[in-house]
Amino acid sequence: MNTSLILSNILNPPVLFFFLGMLAIFVKSDLEIPAPLPKLFSLYLLFAIGFKGGVELVKSGVDQAVILTILASILMACVVPLYTFFILRLKLDAYNAAAIAATYGSISAVTFITAGSFLQQLDIAFDGYMVAALALMESPAIIVGLILVKLFTANQSESQEFNWSEVLREAFLNSSVFLLVGSLLIGVLTGEHGWEVLKPFSQDMFYGVLTFFLLDMGLVAARRIKDLEKTGIFLIGFAILIPILNAGIGLLIAKLIGMSQGDSLLFCVLCASASYIAVPAAMRLTVPEANPSLYVSTALAVTFPFNIIIGIPLYLYGINFFWS
């Protein structure tokens, strides 16, 4: 594989600041980004990609390519938790298997954003409507995960009944999905004109905020690494191999429906990434029987760094290989 791709990915300020964050924990520096600053950065990033995606969606319009992409996204978001559940059941009880499966069925917006900035750096074009795919892939896995819990856990006491209206709200109206979709719709409504006035804020600051956010993610991921002892080798392997498998399936689908190279990379990254905020919060609320340190630590301390550092260039290598 082309190591220059990995290098050009790594020698990027945001990725290097991710390493710097991890290093801070390893050498026990007291560097921290106090709450709620990381929240500010993530609100900003969701707003900025949602808004830009909306503005571009209105330019490109909704054609067959958009519809195929959307269908493929929903399909993957529903299917990934199903097969990962059965893989996880080899070693874990149904509660934990379902919670981890939901985590991997959903997506990580920051991984997506990092892949986008990687493409920009290589001057590979991608479509604004991929943000719609991002938004659509966040929620379905939560529902699939809960259905799996329902089906595969026996004699549930009354207190364990799901409150489905609460579940649906957590899935479709959690703050990430809500802000992303809301910003996308406002982008669609205000179009070019809105973009003009917001561009210095939502475009020029973007890279810098991403850099700070990844610095914080480095701190967070490294703090979670000590949890991996309890997680065990099976889950660590899972957290590296499943993203590659998911990206591979994503790649085939992308090729099948004729996506461009840039869009294919983003789609693969969506399939390969795992949620470490929205889905874990939903699982803590609806499946408290599952152990958060299993589903959070694998997603955050293994899959996220793997995708950011190796996954993104690896998937692009695969795409370049298949497309040529």
Partner: protein, 101 residues
């Protein structure tokens, strides 16, 4: 000064709505919440720094005779979601602005 009971609950912030609902059902409508406290419990370390898990600290001052109902309403939440619940004694200095607690 009037004898009162101080009820304190420290728990995952996702439980907060359920805990406040439990207090209200038990007739305790006044409370204070300290958000984003950090801690270590059987679920492991909880801190915004580790990830987005945060605890909340709820304090409710109530009349001694309300305690049993409160426990009854909170116990299912604690059983399902974890957290810690303490009851202790205190004296309240009632001001003229205080309706019955």
């Amino acid at each position: 000064m009037y004898p009162v009971k101080r009820i304190e609950i420290i728990s995952d912030s996702i439980e907060l709505n359920k805990i406040i609902a439990g207090l209200k059902q038990a007739g305790v409508a006044k409370y204070t919440v300290i958000r984003n406290v950090e801690g270590n419990g059987i679920k492991g370390t909880t801190s915004h720094e580790v990830d987005m898990m945060e605890n909340d600290y709820v304090i409710a001052i109530c009349a001694p005779e309300q305690v049993d109902r409160v426990i009854e309403h909170l116990r299912p939440v604690l059983n399902r979601f974890g957290g810690v619940c303490l009851i202790s004694d205190a004296m309240e200095v009632r001001s003229i602005q205080c309706s019955a607690t």
